[in-house]
């Protein structure tokens, strides 16, 4: 195992410098350079054609929607958008590369010179974005054998469904001045990118599925120095939590080496969820990718009119939106924090837009629906109820048609595919009985069945009404308005 220096000790000696490379898979209907479906989870090698298989003679044609998404991303990151730029070929041999070169961008990125502001513990950090460029993803290797890794595999299989998926690579400039907060700043930055991509609707941004990936570079400078140290690049960081943990680990590992007068080796490190990194490919013999302008594609030259038109389609900045909604909804900091933690902001916003109150929307999404999502092991947004349906359920409660307990059965019915909330109420006969005739008879029966309780109420011990209400509700199989039942009991026994 690696020697690690205590984090606080490391921070007393060194200043970390970060460099973050984030890959975002776009959720366009088709791939970057061909008409194949861009879809996660299909049968291996089913979404392929001569172009994304790189067959002899096949040629790429750019997906205009991918360019549009890239420009919108660039604008959201406060980047300049190139008036003219080209794709470039990055040449290297690997079995997951169908052409043995990746069509990417090199010295002419589509988006450049931007920035993202992130807040950590009340401090704002401005992360300078060097570039956001377009490229295609490679296929996916599956190594068969005990290890599941390339070394020691019995054989390897390649799935080219992912080959040609449009990617945007967002690269920061070196991030200095974060001090001991570096890992948290990195995490906050990637979270901010994720929120931005989600608000733009350009990507699924699921780190666990690889539609958002982060390579985290870090180096250490002795305190007071401004000479950059040797960096490592940590890959396989598949969650926000891992970014923070992996960087903390790398800082402690490098600090331990440097503190003993050693040299950090420039290399790729692989993060393991168990909480450590291991050496990957050494970068000392830097591979020569022999970049040159892609001759099969014409330059991309977005007109200024188009760029401005796209700028007008940008959604509200996610950070600004959070501040606004917290105020509008009148939630406490803690309540709002729970909403963010549950990833329910957009769902509640949509539910409120459909007519529910913020409090009731929050109650459903963080209560019953969170419970169902958890039990099913799905994300909240995928639970099976739309914000409009949640608002409809709440409408039924507010209108006295059902009570909270019945509303849960309505939700259960909707999730079981029995139709809209109103249809479920109808089919399951869940309506609250507000017909005084039927209720009155049930109350009379309950009073007759429990003379002791009735006597206590007559004597002014109103608390005894609870028992009678309970038996009425039972007799009505829950389909009664408990408030009305109480009123009737007190009326009859006054």
């Amino acid at each position: 195992m690696d020697e690690l220096l205590d984090y606080d000790e490391a921070m007393a000696l060194f200043d970390p410098v970060l460099g973050l490379e984030v890959h975002v898979e776009l959720n366009t209907a088709s791939k970057m350079f061909c008409g194949c479906a861009n879809h996660f989870g299909a049968e291996p090698n089913s979404n392929t054609c001569p172009v994304c298989l790189g067959l002899p003679g096949a040629l790429p044609a750019v997906n205009a929607t991918a360019i549009e998404s890239a420009i919108r991303i660039g604008l959201s990151l406060n980047c300049d958008i190139a008036t003219w730029c080209r794709f470039a070929r990055k040449n290297y041999f690997y079995p997951d590369m169908t052409k043995d070169f990746q069509t990417s961008q090199y010295d002419e990125p589509l988006c450049f010179e931007g920035h993202v502001d992130v807040e950590v513990d009340g401090r704002t950090f401005r992360i300078a974005v060097e570039r956001a460029h377009m490229e295609e993803d490679a296929g996916k290797l599956v190594h068969a054998g005990a290890s599941g890794r390339i070394h020691g595999a019995d054989y390897s299989l390649v799935d080219y469904n992912r080959a040609g998926t449009p990617l945007i690579e967002i690269v920061t400039k070196p991030v200095r001045g974060t001090g001991s907060m570096a890992p948290q700043v990195a995490k906050a930055y990637v979270a901010a990118l994720r929120d931005t991509m989600r608000a733009l609707g350009v990507s699924d941004v699921k780190m666990e599925q690889g539609s958002l990936r982060c390579d985290a570079n870090v180096s250490l400078m002795p305190k007071g120095s401004d000479v950059l140290g040797t960096r490592t690049e940590t890959k396989n960081v598949n969650s926000l939590r891992s970014i923070e943990a992996a960087l903390t680990y790398e800082i402690r590992r490098q600090a331990a080496i440097l503190a003993c007068g050693g040299r950090v080796k420039q290399e790729t490190r692989m993060w393991h969820e168990e909480g450590y990194t291991t050496a990957g490919r050494s970068k000392e013999e830097a591979e020569d990718y022999r970049y040159f302008p892609e001759p099969d594609l014409v330059p991309v030259a977005p007109s200024r009119e188009w760029v401005e038109q796209l700028r007008s389609t940008l959604p509200e900045n996610p950070a600004a939106k959070r501040v606004r909604l917290a105020a509008e909804w009148g939630m406490t900091e803690r309540e709002f924090g729970d909403v963010l933690a549950a990833d329910a902001l957009d769902l509640i916003e949509a539910t409120v837009a459909a007519g529910a109150s913020p409090a009731s929307a929050r109650k459903w999404w963080l209560g019953e629906l969170a419970r169902v999502a958890n039990a099913e092991g799905v994300e909240l947004a995928a639970v099976g109820l739309t914000p409009a349906q949640v608002a409809e359920v709440q409408g039924l409660v507010d209108g006295g048609v059902v009570n909270d307990k019945l509303a849960r059965q309505v939700i259960e019915g909707v999730l079981a595919g029995e139709g809209s909330p109103a249809e479920v109420v109808e089919r399951r006969g869940l309506k609250v009985v507000s017909d005084d005739g039927a209720l009155s008879a049930a109350v009379d029966a309950a009073i007759a069945a429990d003379p002791d309780a009735a006597a206590k109420i007559r004597d002014g011990k109103v608390a005894a009404a609870g028992a009678l209400i309970g038996s009425v509700m039972k007799a009505m199989r829950g389909q009664a308005d408990a408030g009305r039942v109480r009123e009737l009991i007190l009326e009859k026994l006054s």
Partner: protein, 527 residues
């Protein structure tokens, strides 16, 4: 009957098939029989399949019999350079590395040819991955020049040119990266046209150098080339570099041949030292023919053309090194050393070592070097600047003249084996043709006579501005009309009726009168 079909032009055959005087099956059968008769000697084809071709012919006949209106070339056979992907039909690109590969899709040009009712009669030999000027770099066979089977038919499209000149096909498809359509046309007395870059789709054409490659028509007459040009050209969304503009009116131009008032610029730099005297003589005589028809001849200087060959041999191999990377044994084609012990990298290395020929390896090595970090600016970068200067030379010249002309190639067909040991001598074959690939403008080679010293064909190159491909045909038709009047028939008619061409078996009753005795070259120079 058979010889008459084989000697007919594509446009004549198309008309007779359309009138149902001939069927596509009859015509296809005649050419398949000719292939059987002469291709053991000529070796123009890599793949011929009677059933495949006759099935296509039968479909065309059925469509015509049903009253369907197909194009003017419906039912006419065509030889296809083996660089075009043909679905389910072997496509080797002249390389061992693709032996046995059956493409799952058709090139756009192939789809267009099929939709127009042409009948593919075979896949024609070529230099491996179109790298060469003699077709000697084919991994499979060496093609002979029908004028003298011991000489080269040009390259890389030597199979296509030899098929035309030996009456094995009336039309052929070629690709031209540095002259691979025009130089073979020049040395076989056929017509070869490189359309404006982006005029023809490259989709499904196995790439050599993407920024230079251009498919085009090969034929025995100017009109036939124009008819084929019209079939295969036009915008294709599958090729991003394809130009979204109407195809120039090439057929009208080929029918008119009107050069009155046309300003023709002779490129000063493409001639002189290194050019065979007979080549220069026939070139000048052709200028006189054009002048006699009303064209104005002026001399024009293109000072950067002399750097074209050097810059080409940096840009082309750079693109080659990247385009040919995909032949890695992982997905298709040859696989060597897959023994369960070798690593993936070993298998890639062994396959590429065994599957590529020397010239392909040479260009991959040169290109890899030229793109390497630290050398990129000096080699690839400088070559791109030269490329820009060549395009500017063309732009400047086309402000003074309507077309530029030169010999198509400095010499006539050389002997097989003569230049195989000397790559630089081989590369010189494309000295005149390369500038148009670098600039992307349209260019063509037309027959202009037989060199007096060796009796072999000489090509006349015409270069036109981007998207002015029609001017090529205007000049070509004027030349053809003027020269054939003095020759009493085409040069290929003379070959067919001569003793040297007796092996072709296509003599007709009406013998072509012998060519006038070649005039002694007046200012013979050292080659």
């Amino acid at each position: 009957m058979s010889a008459e079909i084989l000697r007919a032009t594509a446009s004549e055959l198309g008309e007779r098939i359309a009138r149902r005087e001939l069927t596509a099956v009859e015509v296809t059968t005649a050419f398949l029989d000719q292939i059987e008769r002469v291709d053991d000697d000529v070796k123009a084809f890599l793949h011929v399949d009677r059933a495949w071709s006759l099935d296509q012919a039968r479909v065309v006949d059925a469509r015509l019999d049903a009253g369907e209106k197909l194009g003017p070339l419906a039912g006419v056979p065509i030889a296809v350079k083996d660089i075009f992907c043909t679905q389910g039909v072997p496509t080797t690109c002249g390389s061992k590395i693709l032996e046995g590969w059956l493409p799952p899709y058709n090139a756009t040009v192939i789809d267009r040819v099929r939709n127009a009712g042409l009948v593919m009669i075979g896949k024609a030999n070529m230099d491996e991955f179109a790298m060469g000027s003699s077709t000697e770099n084919s991994a499979f066979q060496v093609t002979g020049n029908p004028w003298d089977l011991e000489r080269i038919p040009g390259g890389s499209g030597g199979g296509s040119s030899a098929a035309l000149a030996s009456f094995q096909a009336p039309l052929a498809l070629g690709t031209d990266t540095g002259g691979s359509i025009r130089q073979p046309a020049a040395v076989t007395a056929t017509v070869g046209v490189k359309p404006t870059y982006g005029g023809t789709s490259r989709y499904g054409v196995i790439a050599m150098a993407s920024s230079l490659d251009q498919p085009g028509p090969c034929a025995r007459t100017v009109l036939d080339a124009a008819l084929l040009h019209e079939v295969i050209c036009g915008h294709d969304p599958m090729d991003s570099t394809s130009i979204d503009a109407p195809v120039p009116a090439v057929v009208d131009a080929a029918r008119s041949g009107d050069v009155r008032g046309l300003r023709i610029g002779v490129v000063k730099e493409l001639g002189g030292n290194g050019y065979a005297p007979g080549v220069e003589q026939r070139f000048r005589e052709a200028l006189d023919v054009l002048k006699a028809q009303g064209a104005e001849i002026v001399e024009v200087s293109c000072p950067h053309f002399k750097y074209a060959l050097g810059a080409y041999y940096l840009i082309m191999p750079s693109e080659v090194s990247s385009n040919l990377a995909r032949f890695d044994a992982m997905r298709y084609g040859l696989r060597v050393g897959d023994d369960g012990v070798n690593t993936v990298e070993d298998v890639m290395r062994l396959t590429r070592g065994a599957g590529f020929g020397d010239e392909v390896k040479r260009r991959i090595i040169i290109g890899t070097y030229a793109l390497s970090s630290g050398y990129y600016d000096a080699y690839y970068g400088s070559a791109q600047k030269v490329r820009r200067l060549i395009a500017e030379d063309f732009d400047a010249a086309f402000t003074q003249v309507d077309v530029l002309v030169s010999p198509s190639t400095p010499t006539t067909a050389f002997k097989q084996g003569e230049r195989t040991a000397d790559p630089l001598a081989m590369y010189m074959s494309d000295l005149c043709t390369i500038p148009s690939n670098m600039a992307g403008n349209a260019s063509a080679s037309f027959p202009c006579g037989l060199a007096p010293e060796d009796g072999l064909p000489v090509g006349f190159q015409v270069m036109a501005p981007v998207l002015a491909d029609d001017r090529l045909y205007r000049v070509g038709a004027a030349l053809e009309r003027g020269l054939e009047a003095s020759w009493g028939g085409s040069l290929l008619d003379h070959l067919a009726d001569s003793d040297a061409g007796a092996y072709l078996g296509v003599r007709t009753d009406v013998a072509t009168p012998p060519l006038a005795e070649p005039v002694e070259a007046s200012d013979a120079r050292e080659i």
